[in-house]
């Protein structure tokens, strides 16, 4: 009789542990997905802003056609990227071209006088920051989730129900610095 009670209690607690672990795995996977969709929102914001900026500065910067074309090209490439890894690479390339555009813009004082350009530049700076913060948040969520999956005993349940390791949104060391625009 006692043995039966112990066995039943044991099964009960194991089931309880199984359910709670499974649920927390699902919760964390959803955190990661949500964080990823946040990046998407910010990337879309950037795609929408770039043509505006290029259109506005084009007339002032006729000598910098190459820089502007590089930005447009990088934008179109990034829009069609597939998967976390390719997306990360394309976005990093786009950030790089934008950085050089901002650097070149420093040479055109009349741009700083244009209120429209200033507004667009603030929006784009903010968007760059948002992208890096949202991927920082995504990476933190991925790290938590991956740690859960890889540590014992959660890894048993993760293996049973096919929870997979997620990719980090990798940033090369050189790109870690945000695009800094200081027009003060």
């Amino acid at each position: 009789m006692v043995a039966i009670i112990i066995i039943v209690a044991l099964i009960f607690f194991i089931a309880l542990w199984l359910i709670s672990t499974y649920n927390s795995l699902v919760k964390h996977r959803n955190y990661v997905r949500n964080a990823w969709s946040q990046i998407d929102v910010q990337l879309k914001r950037r795609y929408d802003l770039i043509p505006n900026l290029v259109e506005t500065v084009k007339d002032y910067m006729s000598y910098e056609k190459d820089t502007l074309e590089a930005v447009i090209k990088a934008r179109n490439f990034a829009m069609n990227a597939q998967g976390v890894k390719q997306q990360a690479e394309a976005e990093n390339a786009l950030s790089g071209t934008l950085k050089s555009l901002f650097a070149v813009m420093e040479n055109y004082p009349q741009l700083k006088a244009n209120e429209n350009v200033m507004k667009l530049q603030e929006e784009l700076t903010s968007t760059e920051n948002r992208i890096s913060y949202s991927r920082q948040f995504y990476n933190d969520s991925v790290m938590q989730y991956n740690t859960m999956i890889e540590t014992f005993p959660t890894n048993i349940i993760a293996g049973m129900f096919n929870f997979r390791i997620m990719d980090f949104f990798a940033i090369p060391e050189a790109e870690r610095q945000n695009v800094k625009v200081d027009l003060r």
Partner: protein, 333 residues
């Protein structure tokens, strides 16, 4: 024995301490090692929730006692206790749901939108992404003083306010650091406890004020009433004891450690501790006083708005850690 100076933040500690009372760095042996902040994110939140409940109970007890004596004095018995408790419940609910508006209107903050302050709104939204919080209401205080605060009962009903002086004197990165510090107070739920303290303590002080004055005048009018003298004495004594306790409570409300934890979290959000450090440098160097800060709201600001007070009195009784120590800790990250 000489005081031990913390190798990390330069804070003067009692010679008996083994670790710095400000930043928890071990004082003996090698410097800079060890985890500076022991509390995790969830510990901070639950500690704030606990403190808020204790505070409301404290208010119930204080007002209950006050009500009892007032009831005895006016000869209405336990009616006084009932009335006081009813008032306590109403003012607690009022502080919880309306505290944000009270604090904001006391400080003279004006709400802004993306149309009139695009950069500030952008910065706050960036920090919301970094901290995973919903976007709070954003306010500006029109003054040249350099300060900022956050308030509200939870992250969904939060407000962040910065002064105009802060926006004109800091660059974008520094302003981001300050906003990150405020968003840390939002995620840590420091805002809830700080708001309850400010509003409830303000209420108690106001009531004791009214009661003591009333007693003073009514005693003059009906001197013939016998037996009331001892009760009045007791009441005055209680009020005299409560007042400094309340003052201390405000100061402990957002303890110095919580400010440091918010600084550390801000550095984690922005990955840029230097920006907040240089912002604090500018804030500390400014001599413009924030006129709209009061004793009941002083603990909510990023830097103590009553600078002369904190410099003269010992750092033990200050609501904020010395700004130099905060800068040093941020630079050592």
């Amino acid at each position: 024995m000489a005081a031990k100076i913390c190798p990390r933040c330069g804070f003067y500690n009692s010679p008996l301490r083994k670790d710095c009372s400000l930043c928890s760095t071990p004082l003996d042996g090698e410097a800079g090692s060890g985890v500076p902040f022991k509390m995790s994110f969830y510990d901070v939140r639950s500690s704030n929730n606990r403190s808020s409940v204790i505070l409301v109970f404290f208010l119930l007890i204080v007002l209950g006692v006050l009500g009892y004596f007032a009831g005895e004095y006016f000869g209405v018995g336990y009616f006084g206790v009932g009335l006081a408790l009813l008032f306590a419940v109403i003012s607690s609910l009022g502080a919880y749901y309306g505290g944000k508006q009270i604090v904001l209107s006391i400080s003279g903050a004006r709400r802004v939108t993306a149309e009139n302050e695009p950069q500030l709104v952008n910065i706050v939204e960036e920090m919301c992404i970094a901290s995973g919080n919903p976007v709070p209401e954003i306010y500006v205080i029109e003054t040249d003083a350099l300060n900022a605060f956050a308030t509200g009962r939870d992250p969904k009903h939060a407000a962040v306010a910065v002064t105009r002086g802060l926006m004109t004197n800091l660059n974008r990165e520094e302003l981001t650091g300050v906003v990150a510090h405020e968003m840390s107070h939002v995620s840590h739920l420091d805002i809830k406890f700080a708001m309850l303290v400010g509003v409830l303590v303000g209420t108690i002080v106001m009531i004791s004020d009214i009661v003591t004055r009333w007693m003073f005048f009514s005693r003059r009018r009906d001197k013939q009433k016998g037996g009331g003298g001892i009760i009045i004495l007791a009441l005055v004594l209680i009020l005299a004891i409560i007042a400094p306790i309340l003052a201390k409570l405000i100061q402990m409300a957002v303890s110095r450690k919580r400010e440091l934890m918010a600084d550390a979290r801000a550095a984690e959000y922005t990955r840029n501790p230097e920006a907040l450090a240089s912002a604090l440098e500018k804030i500390g160097a400014s001599s413009v006083k924030l006129q709209t800060a009061t004793r009941a709201t002083q603990h909510m600001y990023i830097n103590n708005p009553f600078k002369d007070f904190s410099k003269k009195s010992s750092s033990l009784f200050s609501t904020h850690p010395p700004i130099e120590a905060r800068i040093k800790i941020l630079r050592s990250m």
